[in-house]
Symmetry: none
Subunit: 260 residues, 2 copies
Amino acid sequence: MADGAGKSQGLTSLNHALGVLAYLSARDQPASLSDIARALDMPPSKAHRYLASFVQFGLVVHTDRSGEYDLGPAALELGLSAMARHDFINETSDALPGLARETNMTALLSIWGNQGATVIRWEKGTSPTVTSFGLGTAMPLLTSATGRAFLAYAPAAPMAQLKASEVDRLRKSPALAPDISRDPDGIEAMIEQVRMQGFSSVDGAFIPGLVAAAAPILDWQGEAQAVVTLVGTDPAAIAPDAGPIGTLLQFCAGHSVPRR
Amino acid sequence: MADGAGKSQGLTSLNHALGVLAYLSARDQPASLSDIARALDMPPSKAHRYLASFVQFGLVVHTDRSGEYDLGPAALELGLSAMARHDFINETSDALPGLARETNMTALLSIWGNQGATVIRWEKGTSPTVTSFGLGTAMPLLTSATGRAFLAYAPAAPMAQLKASEVDRLRKSPALAPDISRDPDGIEAMIEQVRMQGFSSVDGAFIPGLVAAAAPILDWQGEAQAVVTLVGTDPAAIAPDAGPIGTLLQFCAGHSVPRR
DNA sequence: GCAATGCTTTGCATAATATGGAATTAATCG
DNA sequence: CGATTAATTCCATATTATGCAAAGCATTGC
């Protein structure tokens, strides 16, 4: 969420209140009242009243147990509404069942959020019904095909910090990604390979027994604005010259770049 | 988006402002200033200042061409954050080994796929429980603890059809689930019991010699978005007051979405 | 079991600031 | 080019947000 610095226009109280919301959005954990007040340098009573309003609208939930505040269902609904406005998300979503049917694999559509690669559509292989399960799952940056595709096709600057922390996590448990050597060079090599191939793939890294391949949907700057992932069980399906890969690359190319 | 009616607490101006946001969220089109002001019965100048704040934070965009207002990228990010915040797959996966160790049983994480209840994580306990199923296995709806938990905590509509076909199958070979009477009432009674207890269990029904108990991880609406199953050999371990059951229920409650 | 601590919530007087109507600017249409 | 509509800015008024202080409310320690 963008942080509004200048209070030049709008309501000052509303700007302060939205700061609270932005803070909750940027965190990856619930926050206590005092946390919020300290971080935003305001009296706890002030933050408390803002939160009371947000809770009333369901934008924030106040967990009864720990007394902490967290984003609520209305925040989710707001995001879903915002999604419905984006043409490219709609177009790609509509085409996803076709891709799943054609490749007979599960197809995922992910976009980049505060917490990383987030799955927003999930289409199972054989039947055209959309299941809501899996929606919102944040994919790991280094150990999932989806994350790797974002890594290879995202602007370097904002990604660098996240990459560093992920590398740290990987170093602690190298078994997660056996196909990457632990030093930074190994990661760069992996990125380079993804760019050359036009897609990323993992073989049982994120979920044992499953294989996945992912390709980016690019915007006018050649950066990934979304990633489409195919998940299946047959390792042969994600070979560079396999049929599903060709279909996936064609699909992503067709939905890249502003059309019309 | 929930519409907060009572203005009993919080800031009045903030509540009014959030009303504007809720209005934009509820519409499926951009709105002009006068539209908003008319719909919410406030002076245009008032709505304008609210919108100025929202625009500053990127929650709303002001299209230069038509001068209309619409939800912005920050609304999308907020939704993604809310989604990822309760990313049960990653969170639960990470905690599954601990559950297996603590209960000394095999722990399974399942989600609902097109084929039915599908195991996506599998963590063996210390005792060498040899099982024939692996990742991607679809569990039976009526004869497995996992399936029963989904049945009891899933939205009724999409489940009804599947339930009917499963009932048919069961009628042909009643020996599979000796603890359920063959008529639909028997199934409803089983569902009711699962809801009362908060977990389901089977005793050698799916695989002879194995016992299992399963509890749901619930989403905002109180529906199962995943099911955690414990598998073992000792029937005493799945009694309602047994230690592992308490651990399981606590585990699932802890990973469910906090209730308002 | 009682005191003590930390955190959250509420009350209240002050003044900061949100408000609504009118004036100004921008855009649209005959 | 003038007229009409919508969007934005201005300004005096009083509504209402604010910060401090005090009251709940658990949780912790002795």
